[in-house]
Structure formats: structure tokens, C-alpha cells
């Protein structure tokens, strides 16, 4: 209490206490964390306190990647995998967005399909792989189907959620200006739902990459997933990690592609 009295007498200047608690960009910290972890693994495997059974040496993984690229095998594995991803995800995401928008717009369809989607969502798609092999054949058909099915449900859920979240006041404004139903869907609902759809797409495409490995479990000789499975069977950790690195890069690239799409499609947000 004596302090307060003394403070009041001296009229102390109060420093600014606001600010903080807001993330600020720190460009170098992300790469530095990666580098530190990789350096630690390199040192550990080199010095011997990480056994070759536990973790491969990062430099050996890089050498494996370079050898893979040089031999042209990288292309042999990437091409089928990218095709499977593109076709499967295009089918799943395309159908998912269409169904999601329909659910968002029509109450009858919502009542009919939302429980169905909720029933389909938790099914582990990997468990259905043998069934897909019978339905769609052991070749590309079953792989497309697995990825399509796996991306379909999260896309539907993200899309109808996004449609539901479109600003009602904008729709009412369109109605007071006498816009037709189709005009409102095209000019207000779809653009308004786009941020939600695109962020759903990030999740769907990550799931597609996860399912790629599962899809290539049955009958695939080439593909990044088949390459990883083969490396695992041979207990070849360098190749296993090389494959995992490729999948990670694929994830980063799709995420960047969606980022670019967002900047293009969501420019209207200003």
C-alpha cells in the first residue's frame, strides 16, 4: 500500500502493455527446425548412438533419392501415382463438391443424403480394398475407386458446411434486388462457399495422398506407395524414407497449389 502511495506521488509513466499474443512471421525458424533435426539424426547415425536398425542416415536417404532420380525409376514410380491421385481425387472431389452443394441447396436432398454420408464417412476405406478389387479389377480401377471414395465424403461434408455458412444477409440483399434463384446461387452462394470448399480440399487431398499407399498395396508394381511398401518388406530404411520424403513433398506441393488457387478464386475478398 505504501508503494501505491509513493507511485501516485511520483506520477510514474506507465509503459505500453498491449501487443503480443499474435503470431508474427519468423521465416527462418521452420527450416532451422528441420535442419536441426536432420543434423541430429545425421550425427547420431554417424557416431553410432542411433543404430542403422532404428533410423537411416539422412545423407544416405538423399543419395537414394538422387540415385532414384538418375536411374529414371523416380519417373516410373511418380507417373502412375500422380495419375492415380489425379483421377481418383478428381472423381471424388468433383462428385463431393456437386453432392455437397446440392445438399446445401435442397432440403429434401439434405434429409436424404446427410445420414448416408455420415454412415459412409467412418468406414475405413482400406478395409474395402479387397471388395474394390472384385468390383473394379485389380488394375487401376480399384485404385481410382479407393482414392475417389476416400476423398468424396470429407469433400461433401466440407462443401455443404461451407454452403450453410454463406452470409444470409448477402442472400437477402440479392433477393431484395430481385435476383433470380440461379443468379443468387451463381453470384452469391458459390463464391461465398468457396473459402470453405477450398479449405476442405486441403484435407481431402491430404487424405488422397495417405490412401495412395493403401491403394498400391494390392497389385501395384510401380508407384510411390508400392515403392514404400516394397522398401518396408525388404527392411530397406533408406528407400522407405526416400519414399516418405516424396510423399511429404507431394503434400507440400498440393497445399501450395491450393494456396495459389485460393489467391486466384478468393481475390474478391480483398
Amino acid at each position: 500500500m505504501a508503494d501505491t502511495a509513493a507511485g501516485m506521488a511520483a506520477a510514474v509513466e506507465v509503459p505500453f502493455r498491449g501487443g503480443g499474443f499474435a503470431p508474427r512471421p519468423k521465416r527462418w525458424v521452420g527450416p532451422a527446425t528441420f535442419l536441426a533435426l536432420i543434423a541430429l539424426a545425421e550425427w547420431g547415425t554417424w557416431a553410432g548412438w542411433i543404430s542403422p536398425l532404428t533410423l537411416p542416415r539422412p545423407s544416405a536417404v538423399v543419395e537414394t533419392l538422387i540415385a532414384l532420380a538418375r536411374s529414371g525409376l523416380m519417373f516410373d514410380h511418380l507417373l502412375p501415382s500422380l495419375t492415380r491421385l489425379a483421377v481418383g481425387a478428381a472423381l471424388g472431389v468433383g462428385a463431393g463438391i456437386a453432392v455437397g452443394v446440392l445438399i446445401g441447396l435442397f432440403s429434401h436432398l439434405r434429409a436424404a443424403l446427410v445420414p448416408l454420408v455420415a454412415a459412409l464417412f467412418p468406414i475405413p476405406k482400406i478395409a474395402l480394398l479387397p471388395l474394390f478389387v472384385i468390383w473394379f479389377g485389380i488394375d487401376e480401377g480399384s485404385k481410382y475407386a479407393l482414392i475417389a471414395f476416400g476423398t468424396f465424403t470429407p469433400t461433401v461434408v466440407a462443401t455443404f458446411g461451407a454452403v450453410d455458412n454463406v452470409d444470409r444477409s448477402l442472400i437477402r440483399m440479392g433477393q431484395s434486388f430481385g435476383l433470380s434463384w440461379w443468379s443468387i446461387v451463381r453470384k452469391i452462394v458459390l463464391p461465398g462457399a468457396m473459402p470453405g470448399i477450398l479449405s476442405g480440399l486441403r484435407i481431402s487431398l491430404a487424405i488422397a495422398i495417405i490412401l495412395l499407399v493403401a491403394a498400391e498395396m494390392l497389385g501395384a508394381r510401380y508407384g510411390i506407395g508400392a515403392y514404400i511398401l516394397e522398401a518396408g518388406a525388404l527392411y530397406d530404411l533408406e528407400r522407405l524414407f526416400a519414399g516418405v520424403v516424396i510423399l511429404s513433398l507431394l503434400g507440400v506441393l498440393t497445399s501450395a497449389a491450393i494456396g495459389a488457387l485460393e489467391r486466384r478464386l478468393l481475390g474478391w475478398r480483398g
Partner: protein, 338 residues
Amino acid sequence: MSSLTRRGTLGLIGAAAAGLAAPALAARRRVVVGAMNLTSHAGSFIALERGYFADAGLDAELKFFQAAQPMAVAIASRDADFGVTAISGGLLSLAQKGAVKVIGGALSEEKGIDGQKILASDAAFKAGLTSPAGLDGKRFGITTAGSSFHYMGARIAAAHGGRPEFVPLQKVGAVIGALKSGQIDAWSIVPHIAKPLAASGAVHIIGNVADYLPGYQVTTVFTSAANAGGDRGLVEAFLQAFSRGVADYNAAMVDRSAGEAAMQAVVDIIHKYVYADQPREKAAVSIINGSMRLNEGAAINLASVRDQLEWFQSEGLVDAGITLETFLDTSYVKVIGA
């Protein structure tokens, strides 16, 4: 390696006890034996059920696996102490990393004894795949690259100058399904699986593996490198018990020298682990039909093992620097076919 671990110390005690030729007097050591639900693991089943492991001073527990590769990984991670499975690319890689060692042999192909069969799907058979000579370009089912199926398929087709397309399906069950539905054209498998499949009419037997790979050392006995190198007492105790189980199996099922009653007794033991879901009468037929030689005294066929290593290396599935010494410790059992 030089530090005295608890396991190492126990090993020394075990070795000392074995040296005194009184292993049963030592406290019984717990060992986990990797097995699969196949008749080729009968040596372990019999040794456990008839108390041979206990006689050797081991408190053995069977741990079951669905494929050869996970068993090798379990030995490397010390979740299992001994395993019996085919030489695979994974096993060789783990041996190269200093984790496991092959210490003996088990299942063998032998001329004159009904061994593994080469199968064709019904569709492929009708389209003309009636002998292994037609395997070139056909879809041959394998579990994973570097599995024993991969080796067999490649060697059999190569005998006719062919090269099949190998289709990895991860699990034996998936391969059976794919073969039945005609998604793949051919496969090779032990007779107790092959014969019922052929009897169902969905697949056809088109040849014998033994005709192409005589003396093929199908499965081997292996343990962790630490056991093989530093725990001779334990390894010898295991091999002694395992060999007694193998001898019983061969006498009852392969040579049929022990009489009908002994055969039925062994079938009873195997039926606890193989086709346990089927009634005994039905299972007994498959188990008896599928009898293949297990190497007496866990002897190992060096020529066959060398051929397998060379094939894995020629296909680039394992490192070219692996030698027989890398993964083989021949100090425990008799070597044949050298």
C-alpha cells in the same frame, strides 16, 4: 556388445548350466518362438506340446505371425527370440544391419516327397497355362517383393527362359483370393494349401517346385545376432528341443516309420495350430497331404541358401555386399549340400 547386459549375464549362466549338461536344473528361461499357422512350423508345435522345450530348460511361448517379414522384424526388435521362416529380402537386410542370424534349416524340398505346388488360375489354365513353361509374361502372385514366392516364381519361369509379371498382394489370403477370381494367373505354395484349392476346381496344379529347385531350403531357423553370437547355451537348447520336434514330425508324417497311432497323435498336435477352425477329419486330410520334410537336426542346405542370396542380389533386392557369413552362423548345425 562388450558391456555385460542382464540378458548377456543370463546367457553366461545358461551357457555354464548347459556346459554342466544339466540345463533342466537351471531356472527355466523364457523364450518367445515366432511361428505361423502352417504345417512347416510343426517342429515348434511338437516341441512345445510334448515338453521338449521344457526338457531343454526353456519356458517357450509361441507368437504367431501372418507373414515371414514381420517375424524377422520381431526378432530384430527382440520381441521374439527364435523364428522359423523363409529366407526373404527383409531377413537378409536385417542380417546385414546386424540384427538377425540364420542358425539352421527347417522345411526342404526333396525329390520323391510331395512338395510345394505351382498353381494356375482356372481362367489362365483354360487359356493354355497348363505347365510352368508358359509362365512368361503371366501375372504371378507374390506377397511382397523379395518374398520366397518372388524367388520361386522367378527361378521356375527362368528355367523355361520366361519372366512373369509379379503382382504384390501383401498377404497369403489376398493371393488366394486373387488366384481364385482370376485376377492373377499363377502362384506357388505349400501342398497343404495347394491341394484343397485344386480340389475346389478354382485353380489347377501345373507343376512341382521340387522339379525346378531340388533341395530348396524353403524355411530356416533364425535368431537375433546377439543370441547367436553371445548366448550359445540358449541357442543350443532351443535347437536341441526343436530338433526333437522335427524328428517326431518326420518319423510320423514324412517317413511314416512311426506307425499310424504316432501319425494321428502328431496330427492332433498340429491341428491345434493349423486349420483349427475346421473339424479334425477335414483338417487331418490337408495336414497329412501337406507333409514335407523338415531337416533332421535343423541341418541347413548351403547350396540352396547361396542360390537364394545370389538371386536376391541379382534382382537388386538386397545389397550386393551381403555374403553368406553376413547372415549365416553355421556353427550350430550340420551343413548339407555345400
